[in-house]
Symmetry: C2
């Protein structure tokens, strides 16, 4: 048995490959089989992480295991889907048992956290690259897309922004900080918590949604384009964590929140009447702006002055790959 076949057996025996609703056939055959209940649709998303591009190389494999799955599952949260399963395509330069065990432990921890089962994948030799495809179920017609925002809706986010971008200099070893600041930022980077419950609570309420992976302004641009509307973001309303403010100061924290990446917090648009019930129910909804007729994203200061970076808004922010 070759070493790559051993790896396949290793993952087939992992806790995250056991049990799970809707999985008619798991790892070990030519295909996995998923059952989808009548009235439901299957939501599918694929994400690739490349060593040295999307994460430092080398990095701690346990943390990479957590983060690689969380990033992918966050797309299910953004659709309001309930996670079911995932596949893992793992390309490795060499086979290290220690590395694999630590990676699988991180993967298992996040899989348990999100309620997803590993149902298949591929293991190959080559430069370290991870491609995860995640599957969720959502009632037909109730998935949250990017295209339904209407003028008059509120623009909301599901929590503090910028923490992961703030953590990046710590991750890369470019800066250090006292533990009280560093720990919450690093936790957000390495173990983002996909807002699955919030996404499901927004079904039938939010008119558009996505998860913020490229920074608030860039991702709002995606909603604006898909919905053919304009979005106004009020900079003073953007929620920032104490740790981020303590580490970067207000100006740096705002820059991280507006144009940093990797937050994996939901951004969504909401008819005003939907806001109060969500807040009453305790959902972490923060209003950061509104939807207007027009196009593109405008950033406003406390006086309502246009302070949009560049001349065409979000497109001039550096792209995160």
């Amino acid at each position: 048995m070759g070493e790559f076949e051993l790896i396949r057996n290793f993952f087939a025996a992992a806790p995250c490959a056991q049990g799970g609703e809707g999985v008619a056939l798991g790892i070990g055959d030519d295909c996995a089989l998923l059952a989808v209940a009548p009235g439901e649709q299957l939501a599918i998303s694929t994400d690739t992480l490349v060593a040295g591009v999307h994460f430092a190389d080398p990095c701690e494999p346990f943390l990479l295991g957590q983060r690689s799955l969380a990033v992918a599952v966050s797309d299910l949260a953004a659709m309001g889907a309930t996670p079911l399963a995932f596949t893992l395509a793992l390309t490795l330069p060499t086979v290290s048992t220690d590395w694999l065990q630590a990676y699988a432990q991180g993967l298992n921890a996040m899989a348990q956290n999100c309620g997803v089962r590993l149902i298949g994948g591929d293991t190959t030799r080559g430069p370290l690259t991870l491609t995860l495809t995640v599957f969720g179920r959502v009632p037909a017609g109730l998935a949250l897309t990017r295209s339904g925002a209407r003028a008059g809706d509120l623009l909301c986010v599901g929590g503090d922004l910028g923490n992961a971008a703030g953590a990046l200099p710590l991750v890369l070893g470019q800066r250090s900080a006292e533990p009280a600041l560093a720990e919450p930022l690093l936790a957000h980077y390495w173990s983002p918590q996909p807002q699955l419950a919030l996404g499901q609570a927004l079904r039938g309420k939010a008119t558009a949604a996505l998860d913020i992976s490229d920074g608030l302004l860039a991702d709002c641009g995606h909603i604006a384009t898909a919905s053919a509307v304009g979005l106004q973001v009020e900079v003073e309303k953007v929620p920032l964590s104490p740790a981020l403010l303590g580490f970067l100061g207000q100006q740096g924290a705002r820059a991280a929140a507006l144009s940093g990446g990797d937050d994996y917090v939901l951004a969504f648009t909401l008819p005003p009447a939907e806001l109060a019930p969500l807040l009453t129910a305790g959902w972490p909804v923060r209003v950061v702006g509104r939807v207007v007729a027009g196009q593109g994203v405008t950033l406003l200061d406390a006086d309502g002055q246009d302070i949009t970076p560049g001349t065409r808004g979000y497109q001039h922010f550096p792209e995160t790959q």
Copy 2:
């Protein structure tokens, strides 16, 4: 707009991203949405191809586009599934418009051939790597797995074996051959035809099936293990193409068929009573052996003598990664 976002738009506009049954939402949102009809299940398979490992680097991008999709869709054929859709995770070291257009043309050609629609994926910078995840539909309970072979069944294949392994020295430029020999072998390597119609015809008839990717003996080992049976292969019954025999001679052709990879021809087990109706209906079914009580794979010569390579059968054949 960054160059990788341009690539995403390029694929979103490709012919293979248009139309298609069962696709409720295609490229462009956080997730794609698939509808699955009541009484059907979704078959899912993931394959990764790494440059320099699974294909020569550089190689002709049109051919790579065809082959990368065919290899993945072949797993749907092996389950008896009807193809629906696929995602493409494309990692590229540099962005070349010529390369992308040629790759997409090959991908489109095979997508049209197989009836699958591109519904999403990811595009990232890094060493050239392709991960395709394919989706098909199959009536619940009728998927062809590896685990149902029973003693007394016939062992069959869906056509000539060894052509792709025979083509490899031509692909790598290690040997040359006259066009009458080279062309059919290279066509098989670069543009394998997933046996989708045969897989669907075998639903409810074959007791086990897979597509041959690691060579007949190695893949028969997978059926033997999953079904807890033994398989006997009669070497004289293994079908070999005239081109392969002409290029490698009988001994070389047999070695390619038994232990070469990349055939993507179906191997399956069949109760004897099922054979005649399939042959009468014109399906390309070739009997190459039978299922017996026991374990592992045994290779027999024309006199019924055991000529299994090594001491433990298929496991000693070199593994293809």
